[in-house]
């Protein structure tokens, strides 16, 4: 059965799972989705994929206790080493002692199955865990 990423910028089938940004070949600006024109330099590309590092630092977080579709998780914004940033759950975040989640602490990318379809294909998400 297949393992399928829940977003197209999560790459599961090319080495270690990692995020893949799109880089403007004119100015180097990164996005997570292919733009029609570069948001930074307004050229029409070309654009090329750029693998982001699998480690980074915790720039910001919030501990969601009363959420919309789920309660009790830590939402984290991470700056990857070498550039790029993304948002996902801090899978080992402290849900009770909030300040145990340290701003600036090193984290790494992890993946996990979030759901399985009727044919056994797995939807795979990414998150972060403390190093």
């Amino acid at each position: 059965m297949a393992k399928l990423p829940i977003v197209d910028y999560l790459v599961l089938d090319d080495g270690e799972p990692h995020l893949q940004a799109i880089e403007c070949q004119h100015c180097g600006a990164l996005t997570l989705r292919t733009p029609i024109q570069c948001g930074a330099c307004f050229t029409r590309g070309p654009f090329a994929p750029k693998a982001l590092a699998t480690t980074g630092t915790l720039r910001a977080f919030t501990v969601v206790k009363r959420g919309a579709l789920g309660n009790g998780f830590v939402s984290a914004i991470v700056d990857f080493d070498g550039g790029g940033n993304a948002k996902a759950n801090l899978v080992d975040g402290d849900l009770e002692n909030f300040e145990n989640n340290k701003l600036g602490e090193p984290v790494r990318l992890v993946t996990y199955t979030v759901d399985t379809d009727d044919d056994g294909n797995e939807a795979v998400a990414f998150g972060f865990e403390k190093i």
């Binding site: 297949a2 197209d8 996005t31 919030t62 959420g67 789920g70 790029g84 797995e122």
Partner: protein
């Protein structure tokens, strides 16, 4: 910059709260008529109409049909939480450009007890009753899983919680206590405001020990949903000169109107940037008006959550760079502090019926500049600033001044 001067001559604001017996048409038309009476003008005089609502966008013509339509052009505008300011900018722009001399703006929303707002994400619908449940099938490039709660959060308390925590990461002296102090200040201010949805003071301990919604935002640090409407009548300087003495004497000049959206920021691939566009809009507004931040007598800024307010102390240059924590610690934004912020109680107490907020804060500042803000009056107020942000994102900043008519 050339263009006609623009004055506010009529204002009205409905108290924010929950009004199940009033429709949005009731509330918006009531405020429009009150604002027209305040200006001693009539619908017949209106040459342009800006109508702002997020959830009932497209209501302008319906409102004119109910009030009598002079044939004025209608702009139905929306820009998330900045909608109300968009509505006011419509007559502002036409008057400034010399196209109209008299304009009307209304911002309104009926939200009741709507609950959590989530950026750009609909909750998965519950299964429609009856019939066979469709098979759950994932395909490459088509894996339909809601990202909420998986790829972090898009709920507003969470998004603005992260925005606050990013400021805490980048600057010393900011933590949970500083964010909580902002809410304490705003709720204390709200006690004096009869238009506020909630008018209850909280101690710091009560705020910090309240139910956590999305830490560091606890329940009293979050703006409530509800119903509201606010209307304004604007005129050109030339028109103002023809109005009765008692209208001219109470006129308030819009000396800056700055509107910006958010350009590309490499730091914000997966989260909104409310800082850069606020700074840009603020600097533009200060430049347009010639006002220095330290000249401001009061500010009504966009505190959808207490964490949001704190970062805007810095973004609006109300404090030294990086010093927002110190600013609240030293009571800088209190009504008796260096620069009073959100003496209305702010969104966390006054409420945030989305389409009305950006118009209501202009009404609030106008009341103070006229000396008509009752118990919450900032004495001698002559210069005020309003600020709203709509995620997506848009920032609108206005500077108002009481000048000799």
């Amino acid at each position: 910059m050339s263009g006609a001067d623009v004055y506010i001559v009529g204002v009205a604001m409905h108290p924010f709260g929950r009004f199940p017996d009033k429709t949005s048409l009731d509330m918006s038309t009531e405020m429009i008529l009150d604002a027209l009476d305040d200006a001693q003008l009539s619908m017949k005089d209106i040459q342009v109409f800006g109508c702002g609502s997020l959830f009932e966008n497209g209501s302008g013509q319906r409102i004119l049909a109910a009030l009598g339509n002079p044939g004025a052009p209608v702009y139905n505008v929306t820009n998330a939480c900045a909608t109300g300011a968009m509505a006011v900018r419509v007559p502002y722009l036409e008057i400034r450009a010399g196209i109209s001399d008299v304009g009307l703006a209304v911002g309104f929303e009926k939200m009741g007890k709507q609950g959590l707002l989530v950026a750009g994400q609909a909750a998965m619908a519950a299964g429609a009753g009856g019939g066979e449940k469709p098979r759950k099938v994932f395909e490459p490039g088509n894996v339909r899983i809601p990202s909420e709660g998986v790829l972090g959060t898009g709920t507003m308390p969470g998004v603005f919680g992260e925005i606050g925590m990013e400021y805490a990461h980048n600057n010393d002296g900011v933590g949970f206590e500083q964010f909580a102090k902002v809410a304490v200040k705003s709720h204390e201010h709200s006690v004096l405001n009869p238009y506020a949805q909630y008018r209850k003071a909280f101690t710091l301990e009560e705020v910090m020990n309240a139910e956590v919604i999305s830490w560091p935002n606890t329940l009293p640090m979050c703006g409530p949903t509800g119903d509201g409407a606010a209307a304004l009548v604007l005129v050109s300087g030339e028109k103002l000169a023809t109005l009765p003495d008692d209208v001219r004497k109470r006129a308030v000049k819009i000396t800056a109107s700055a509107l910006y959206s958010d350009p590309y920021n490499p730091d914000n691939l997966a989260s909104p940037d409310v800082n850069s566009l606020t700074r840009t809009a603020a600097d533009r507004a200060y430049e347009m008006s010639g006002v220095d931040p330290q000249d401001l007598d009061l500010v009504e800024l966009h505190d959808c959550f207490a964490t949001a307010e704190l970062v805007h102390y810095d973004n609006l240059r109300l404090c030294e760079p990086g010093m927002a924590g110190k600013f609240i610690d030293e009571r800088g934004p209190y009504r008796d502090g260096k620069i009073p912020v959100n003496v209305s109680g702010g969104l966390v107490s006054k409420g945030h019926p989305i389409g009305s907020t950006g118009a209501a804060n202009l009404v609030e500042i106008t009341m103070h500049l006229r000396g008509e803000a009752g118990d919450r009056q900032i004495e001698g107020a002559k210069v005020g600033m309003t600020h709203v942000i709509g995620l997506g994102s848009t920032c609108a900043i206005h500077i108002l001044e009481k000048t000799a008519a």
